[in-house]
């Protein structure tokens, strides 16, 4: 999407349809990559596909030909293990050829399992270790504030990832500085690596926690494209606080046998499972 601020104000039917279609293609592409690589994190790829599609094809202002344009909106993929979905979104948005996706995790590929900003255009900062995105995003938002620059900063974390203390340190900084240009999206699929978040170290009441840290909070259906667009594309100017969007999602969404299963956090579908999944993801 080129720099067209007007599009952010209204959520047109065409935008919703475009985002829906992109989300479907991101899911298909991520699964293909995982099967080819024999490695990956399909559960989290599927749960964040709609969020990524909304951001790249309906919210963020950027020019893929100028990935370092100082005025671009910033997006930080803090849940870096979901690179299958993230790389697919970046390629479809034009940051690098879609053909490169076939090299995912192959020797000497720029697409290792976790994104690196040193060599991949569109990646703002390297992630993979959880809990790194928020502080970096806060720094970006402060830089914009200092420069009085209109760009916005978005960061996507997992919900298990919220257990990292760095999120809360950064959250306190953002709340204190009233970084209204900053939006945190939490992929609230209720599963982490080994089990449910609430059976591991419970996060609830998550919305109250972020409110207490000085943030506005919106709770939405993270698979509803119109809702995602409405909340994420709404202009930041009327707000006086950073915004936390709790996107309620299902891990594995879009592939019935993967839905809400801890074992699909990290795993590779076999040939039959892959065929079933691709069938379910047909238009």
């Amino acid at each position: 999407m080129k720099l067209e601020p007007a599009e952010r104000m209204t959520v047109s039917e065409t935008t919703v349809a475009r985002v829906r279609e992109r989300a479907r293609l991101i899911r298909r592409s991520a699964l293909e990559m995982i099967v080819k690589a024999g490695n990956g994190h399909p559960g989290g790829d599927m749960s964040s596909a709609d969020i990524l599609a909304a951001l790249y094809f309906g919210v963020l202002r950027f020019d893929p030909k100028k990935p370092l344009d100082p005025g671009r909106d910033r997006f930080v993929m803090s849940k870096g293990h979901c690179s299958g979905a993230f790389y697919s979104a970046l390629a479809m948005a034009g940051f690098f050829p879609e053909a490169d996706l076939a090299s995912y995790m192959k020797p000497l590929s720029k697409l290792n399992a976790h994104p690196c900003s040193a060599y991949l255009p569109g990646v703002e900062t390297s992630t993979g270790p959880l809990g790194h995105g928020m502080p970096v995003a806060v720094g970006m938002a402060i830089a914009a504030q200092i420069d009085n620059a209109p760009y916005r900063v978005f960061v996507l974390t997992g919900d298990g990832e919220q257990q990292e203390g760095s999120n809360w340190e950064a959250g306190m900084t953002a709340g204190h500085r009233k970084l209204s240009n900053l939006t945190l999206i939490i992929d609230r699929n209720r599963l982490q690596q080994g089990a449910r978040t609430e059976d591991t170290v419970g996060l609830e009441p998550l919305a109250d926690k972020w409110r207490a840290f000085g943030w506005d909070v919106e709770e939405i259906d993270g698979h509803d494209h119109a809702q995602l667009l409405r909340v994420l594309a709404a202009p930041a100017t009327p707000r006086h606080k950073p915004l936390c969007v709790i996107a309620n999602t299902t891990k594995g969404r879009g592939v019935s046998f993967m839905c809400d299963q801890a074992k699909w956090h990290h795993g590779v579908p076999d040939a039959a499972q892959f065929a079933t999944a691709m069938k379910e993801l047909e238009a």
Partner: protein, 317 residues
């Protein structure tokens, strides 16, 4: 010194020996607890969790918290075994390791899983090839790098039986069972696994079996290479290094950055006490994408790569 070590072809995941040893110890000593960061499966402590759910503390994805909590548990008389991916366990919580464990002499045992480049294509964020440098420069924490299932079990037993902080590096890369003859494991003396006076190869962890294979290949050419397994990097057996230097040439081999690791530790002793020619094999820094086995091949961390370096140094002696 032990007899020439032979290896069997079957490969083992050292996490199995780790888990079996830990459970056997935990049966007899109820002070033993396990602390994890959402890493039950990857650390192979599912069995422990089933048997003693009340002794398994999962702090969630929060490594700094995890190390501090372990230090507190030790203060309360527990013997915590902290199990997580080596990269996050060390890198993320380094100051907690330094202040809460090493400096405070807390009785905490760190078990760094999938160490080195075992995570392969997951990339440099998930490799743990800086941990020797980080931990050995600190002092105050024993740093053990077992080479096979037997040594893994012995390292865990030793850590449980001795007070103070330990870091045990546990790969998940398959390794053969080595012949340790009558070796009694300890952290003070290294193990000479193959005799020879033409050149010395000093290795540890998953590199030991490769070093032994190199030595056997060189034997066919009439080059007698000594192979030293330096499982403990801290404390360091300086004596075995000085003795190795007397061959005139040392090749160090590590699944770690060549900066500040095993080669660096050996070089510090060699430079100060017994200068000799050295070649250091390891990784140059952040690595490109590739599987663990591809990376090992690419950087010559194979029996052939080791043999080339040892042959070169031995002949030029």
């Amino acid at each position: 010194m032990t007899a020439a070590s032979s290896t069997t072809a079957q490969l083992y995941d050292c996490r199995k020996a780790f888990a079996e040893t830990l459970e056997a110890l935990a049966e007899r000593d109820e002070r033993i607890v396990v602390v994890v960061n959402d890493s039950i499966g990857s650390s192979n402590v599912g069995g422990f969790a089933k048997r003693w759910p009340e002794r398994l503390i999962n702090v969630g994805i929060a490594e700094q918290n995890m190390i501090g909590v372990a230090a507190g548990l030790a203060n309360g008389g527990k013997i915590p075994f902290v199990c997580g991916a080596a990269c996050f366990l060390t890198g993320r919580a380094l100051e907690q390791i330094k202040a809460d464990l090493a400096y405070s002499r807390a009785n905490v045992k760190l078990c760094g899983m999938a160490s080195g480049v075992a995570y392969g294509e997951l990339g440099p964020t998930h490799h743990s090839i800086e941990d020797y440098g980080w931990l050995r420069t600190m002092g105050g924490i024993k740093l053990v790098v077992p080479s096979d299932p037997w040594e893994t079990g012995e390292a865990i037993k030793t850590a449980a039986a001795t007070s103070g902080p330990y870091f045990v590096r546990i790969s998940r890369m398959g390794v053969p069972m080595l012949n340790h003859a009558d070796r009694i494991f300890n952290c003070e003396t290294a193990e000479v696994m193959h005799d020879g006076n033409d050149v010395a190869i000093i290795a540890n962890g998953v590199m030991v079996s490769r070093a032994l294979a190199a030595a056997r290949a060189l034997e066919g050419e009439g080059i007698r290479a000594r192979v030293v397994s330096l499982a403990c990097l801290s404390p360091l057996d300086e004596n075995v290094i000085v003795e190795a230097a007397k061959t005139g040439a040392i090749v160090t081999v590590e699944e770690h950055s060549v900066r500040g690791g095993l080669g660096g530790a050996v070089a510090e002793v060699v430079a100060a006490k017994s200068p000799c020619r050295m070649r250091m094999l390891g990784f140059p820094g952040f690595l490109p994408t590739g599987s663990a086995s591809w990376l090992m091949e690419h950087y010559g961390l194979t029996a052939e790569g080791i043999a080339v370096a040892a042959r070169d140094l031995a002949v030029r002696k």
